[in-house]
């Protein structure tokens, strides 16, 4: 993937719409992260530790459920969480990039380079 650093105009950052776009990107990133971290805490520290004794009353096949969360389930969920984050952030990055690109074009249209 080519570096995107040169692909966007530096003057873009002075544009209020671009600034709003950057701020929106950060908010969406933090919101996604927070949701995933809640799952992380509930699956690992919650089901694997805090509720493990209670969950052991239930069974998953031959496993007591709390034991399964501590030794198998939490790890699988951790892997899936990072996968979801990478996929969703990739998508968010692309949207963000397209938005900035459009703004950059727009800006160039408003203030064409002197011939």
């Amino acid at each position: 993937m080519p570096s995107r650093i040169e692909s966007l105009d530096e003057s873009l950052t002075r544009d209020p719409r671009a600034r709003a776009c950057i701020a929106r990107y950060w908010r969406r990133n933090v919101a996604l992260m927070a949701r995933l971290l809640v799952v992380w805490a509930v699956a690992g520290l919650g089901c694997g530790v805090l509720f493990a004794d209670a969950l052991n009353a239930f069974r998953l096949g031959g496993f007591p459920l709390g034991f399964w969360f501590a030794q198998q389930g939490s790890i699988v969920i951790f892997v899936v969480l990072i996968l979801v984050y990478a996929v969703k952030m990739g998508k968010l990055d692309r949207e963000h990039h397209a938005e900035l690109e459009a703004l950059a074009k727009d800006l160039r249209g408003e203030a064409p380079e002197p011939q």
């Binding site: 993937m1 570096s3 995107r4 650093i5 966007l8 105009d9 530096e10 873009l12 950052t13 671009a18 950057i22 990107y25 950060w26 990133n29 933090v30 992260m33 995933l36 971290l37 992380w40 690992g44 520290l45 694997g48 530790v49 805090l50 493990a52 004794d53 052991n56 998953l60 096949g61 031959g62 496993f63 007591p64 709390g66 034991f67 399964w68 501590a70 030794q71 198998q72 939490s74 790890i75 699988v76 951790f78 892997v79 969480l81 990072i82 996968l83 984050y85 990478a86 952030m89 990739g90 990055d93 963000h96 990039h97 900035l100």
Partner: protein, 610 residues
Amino acid sequence: MSIKAWTFFFVGLSFSLYLFIAWRSRVRDTLGFYVAGRDVPAFANGMATAADWMSAASFISMAGIISFMGYAGGVYLMGWTGGYVLLALLLAPYLRKFGHFTVPDFVGDRYESNVARLVAVLCAIFVSFTYVAGQMRGVGIVFSRFLEVDITVGVMIGMAIVFVYATLGGMKGITWTQVAQYWVLITAFLIPAIAISIKLTGHALPQVGMGSSLLGESLPLLDKLDQIHADLGFASYTQAFVGRWDKINVFCTALALMLGTAGLPHVIVRFYTVKTVDAARWSGFWALFFIALLYLTAPATAAFARYYMIDSLHEKRADELPSWFENWSQTGLVMWLDDGDGRLQYHGGDQSERNELFHSGKLSSAEVAELRAQHATWLSTDGQGGVDGRKQLRELGLSGPDRDIIVLATPEMAGLASWIIALMAAGGLAAALSTASGLLLVISSSVAHDVYYRVLRPDATEAQRLRVGRTVIGLAVVVAGLFGIFPPAYVSQVVAFAFGLAAASFFPVLTLGIFSKRVSKFPAVAGMITGIGFTGTYILGSVYGGMSNWCFGIGPQGIGTVGMLLNFAVTLGLTPFFPAPSAKIQRMVDAIREPEGVGPAVDIEAAIDH
């Protein structure tokens, strides 16, 4: 071919491969030396991170620890994988965007303070050295167990190999050898696990086999194990919070291991080696994916081997004992001291007085021979003369087999061919060497980059910096090797605590540096010092000073969690009283949050090659 011949073959083959890769990936500049030229693909970086992460302890000891701990063993499984979620979501993409070469680089630049930089350097060096000493020792132990060479010779062979590929190729050489080492170690780990799963349960997937019943029985394996444990006096295998591992300790230890994982410098620097922010996120995924292949299998191996070991030893006469028991008895990992009835009894907990199964621990072979002789006299004279060896060993805390036997003897338990056993040796060496090299690079970059170049000689040329980097890594290999040959007594205890210290120092300072633009130099340094100070004192006091676990009964392994909370509390509490960071730093934080590189501070990108 004998096991020994096969072992020489596999070890020789894998070492030649590492040297070949080292030669192919030698480097000429610091960018290559410290961050592998920043063009490692995410998939390969994930594999290298997994090998970097999984040490000799993960490979040889972890399944054994779980096997003897049951449910509470999940602390290590969750702790050492859950940290990757924090790493991938909270740190990796931003530190990659920041660029540079090391963790102290970020701390020093973000907080505009060489004091912060040096505190970070000290933490990085301390954590890395305690860790690397254990790896070098691991190399020596694998050599001595499988090839019957002296531990010292084993450590020196390992040192020579790491020396060559680390000084030649720096991070680039280390990365590509780690990729190869991952394949060696995962193959060696999975084959015996799958074989023993098929043998006991008929399922090829150990994770499924663990939850099924034994062949020819209706009771699930884990229930059977609970039943056996109850009969023999051991604590339940699946029940949570038995004995020392109460809820608060399981919770704090798991969390401290997670936060520590996210703060370990040798793992973080791996994310500097990829091309883009997106690739840093994907590296996080691939790293945990490849780690999970081993971490999801280890608890299954633990349960199978636990059952199989008890089933094939308990109540057996000498002529009924399996051959692996004989083989490993010679190493002292298991020993049997009979009570006179000619049948081996394996007990624990409140029935431990009847236990006849022990390991020799740190006793020398002469001491063991003497003890056995005394025990024989004791038996033949009906307790009139000699000494009851069982009582002595019990008092020395050497009851039961050595935990390492679980992984080392699994291939034989599963009845696999001798070349698989040899492959285990190559796997153990791969795990130890890959972790050692990653840590050595952190030590080298901390000294050569953060101290020499960033603080002492900012005007050093590229060639000088590369030369210093190579020299330091060479010296670090030698020091680590010496630690391996003459292990300081504290190492084995301190390794687990390295996580507590990393959790209490790096984790808060890194996350706040990214997610707050308000936190500045003084509160951050004060927080770091409070975190390390509290955690370090508590650990030292509790391990050496005989201090009671006064802080809610939390043991030294979990105290990093409290240290981390204190660090956050001090930093955030002091922040309102100190000025915000300069405009330049605020722009820098904006820039690392912005993957497109259009953040207001483009100058930080220009600073990469400084």
